[in-house]
């Protein structure tokens, strides 16, 4: 491979890494506020993308999908936010606070429940996702030379993801809601003493994370062209890897790690092929766990 091929692989990968970053942010947000992992998160995000297909099918009047492209993303985000709230209610709200095992197990149960519902609703067949991006992007390729081009659909996804991240950061750092969320994340009891409803803040965080996940789900659908329950496990694993590499609880970490994993993954793909790609991503995680367990931006974990 020549240098320009690497450049192409990294560029495509970093742009695709945008949805890893979004999923990583979702895991990290929930971890930051609740100190727990929601293993059903990526499944709920895909649930949103499936729901947007359902909405599109309902509103389908002509031969083509009846929804404008951006509405597909919106429908997916809203539905995923709703599913995230359901997951919060059935897995987090009533399980004991100081016994993480119960919550963790419940989210694994929710993962399989959502996966099975998706399998049943679609008879286990992959569903075609409309090429919504082609409605937005006129020219599918921005060519710089024979060997290097930027794919228009990926660029659109990348920009959309950046906008979503910017909105999230504004929400967290410039609004009262964000202040409450950060307060609960920092010192739960103190936040409660200031009159913040921890339960409501937790639920809101889940919904925000769910909305981001729904966007990521629709983006993946649009970029890959199909939705399949077979995507649930790999995306959950990738999202978790991104979360750990970025540092648990760190949003900038999740963004950087998402783009990093996306870029490196595409290089591994080019060098070693699809069957071995993910093994190298996991080796990267093991390297981080061995030498920098707090991740890129995480706080150093001292022995307690």
């Amino acid at each position: 491979m020549e240098f320009v091929d690497y450049l192409q692989a990294v560029t495509d990968g970093v742009m695709q890494g945008a949805y890893y970053a979004l999923i990583g942010i979702g895991f990290t947000l929930i971890f930051g506020v609740m100190n727990k992992i929601n293993l059903a998160y990526a499944a709920a995000a895909f649930g949103g993308a499936y729901a947007s297909l359902g909405v599109a099918a309902l509103m389908n009047t002509g031969g083509d999908f009846g929804l404008p492209p951006l509405l597909m993303f919106l429908a997916s985000a809203v539905a995923a936010g709703l599913f995230a709230w359901v997951v919060y209610t059935i897995c987090f709200r009533f399980t004991p606070d100081h016994y993480e095992l119960a919550t963790l197990m419940a989210t694994v149960g929710a993962f399989f429940l959502i996966e099975e519902i998706a399998v049943h609703a679609t008879d286990g067949e992959p569903m075609d996702f409309p090429e919504v991006l082609h409605g937005i992007v006129e020219d599918p390729m921005i060519e710089f030379s024979d060997a290097f081009a930027i794919r228009g659909d990926l660029l659109t996804i990348f920009i959309l993801a950046l906008i979503a991240m910017a909105v999230l950061l504004l929400l967290l750092y410039r609004t009262k809601l964000g202040l409450a969320t950060r307060a609960v994340a920092q010192q739960r009891t103190a936040a409660q003493l200031c009159g913040i409803s921890v339960d409501r803040t937790n639920a809101t965080t889940f919904i925000i994370a769910g909305v981001l996940g729904g966007l990521a789900g629709a983006m993946i659908g649009a970029a890959v062209g199909v939705l399949s329950p077979l995507l649930f496990v790999p995306l959950t694993v990738k999202g978790l890897i991104v979360t750990v590499i970025g540092g648990l609880g760190s949003i900038p970490g999740a963004i950087v790690a998402g783009l990093l994993v996306g870029g490196l993954e595409n290089v591994f793909l080019a060098l070693r092929g699809i069957t071995e790609r993910d093994m190298y991503v996991m080796l990267l995680l093991f390297l981080f766990l061995a030498f920098r367990p707090q991740g890129l931006f995480g706080k150093k974990v001292l022995r307690d």
Binding site: A106, F112, L289
Partner: protein, 303 residues
């Protein structure tokens, strides 16, 4: 009983062993989502030993278990630096890594007029030790349960010995355990090693009774089964795991077969329900104490 029922007896036995492999690790308060990976190592190693090297099943099974325990020991060490939820992520990734390793693993040799051995994504076919040696389904079921009984008895005995107390002490409160002189490193790594060995044994048996394994057998669902049995059954003693394996494999999956695919939904829903209403599992320490009082045993014990 027909062959189908005997087959079910085998499945419950192997799943009980699988659940016990996670039980040992859970006692120390660690969650391992890598059990399916250890099962895969035991399955492939033992399968290759009986098929390619023509070993007997018992040494092959023990070697498969040892191979898995070596890997588990290696996984156990980072578990000391990373804790709690990070360990969940690390073990999920490790389990998937092992699965992908076998997906890419190709090693076949000609044996007579057929080629045998693991063949990457196609899987590992023709693991025919049982049929070739004339074992009937009943013999295999008996073999599975002898192994399961040995492991159940060993863990039951361990639970009542000092070793069990030490494991539970680490699980309850690491700092308190450390302050009375318990070496956390030794305890945690030992628990992982033992859990890996038991999972490897489960894998070796699994490979031989199904005769055909592939990487997809050892996915997150299997890892979930492993931790679900002890967690749903309760960590008070080994019987909870046995009961949960029986309940899920026989009642939820087989007896309700008439419900069709809907029963797959029930596994997830069942976990969520139990965790909301009985977060410490069905046979939690409290329930077991009540049961003992009710039956009039154990009143004089230290309970």
């Amino acid at each position: 009983m027909d062959d189908f029922t005997w087959g079910l007896v085998q499945i419950v036995g192997v799943h009980t062993i699988l659940g016990l492999s996670a039980y040992v690790i859970l006692l120390t308060g660690q969650v391992s989502m890598a059990q399916a990976g250890f099962v895969a190592i035991g399955a492939y190693v033992a399968g290759m030993l009986t098929v390619l090297a023509e070993w007997h099943i018992i040494p092959a099974m023990v070697t498969g278990g040892l191979a898995a325990s070596v890997l588990a020991c290696i996984v156990g060490f980072p578990a000391l630096r990373i804790r709690g939820l990070m360990l969940v992520v690390a073990t999920i990734a490790f389990g998937e890594f092992v699965r992908l390793f076998w997906f890419n693993f190709d090693y076949r040799i000609a044996k007579g007029d057929i080629v045998v051995g693991p063949e990457g994504g196609e899987g590992f076919k023709q693991i025919r030790f049982f049929p070739e040696n004339g074992w009937t389904t009943q013999d295999v079921a008996a073999f599975v349960w002898v192994v399961a009984a040995i492991i159940l008895a060993t863990l039951w005995w361990m639970d009542r010995s000092r070793a069990g107390k030490v494991l539970r002490a680490v699980g309850e409160d690491e700092m308190a355990a450390q302050s009375v002189g318990i070496n956390l490193t030794v305890v945690k790594v030992a628990a992982f090693t033992a859990g890996g060995f038991i999972a490897g044994i489960a894998g070796a048996i699994y490979a031989h009774y199904t005769t055909h394994i592939e990487h997809l057998n050892f996915d997150i669902l299997m890892a979930t089964f492993a931790i679900a049995y002890p967690i749903l059954g309760g960590l008070a003693n080994v019987w909870g795991t046995l009961f949960a394996a029986f309940f899920i494999q026989v009642i939820v999956i087989e007896v309700l077969r008439d419900l069709g695919d809907v029963r797959n939904l029930m596994f997830g829903a069942l976990i969520i329900l139990v965790m909301n209403f009985l977060p410490h599992g069905l046979f939690s320490a409290k329930v077991v104490r009540k049961l003992k009082e009710w039956m009039g045993i154990g009143k004089m014990s230290d309970a």
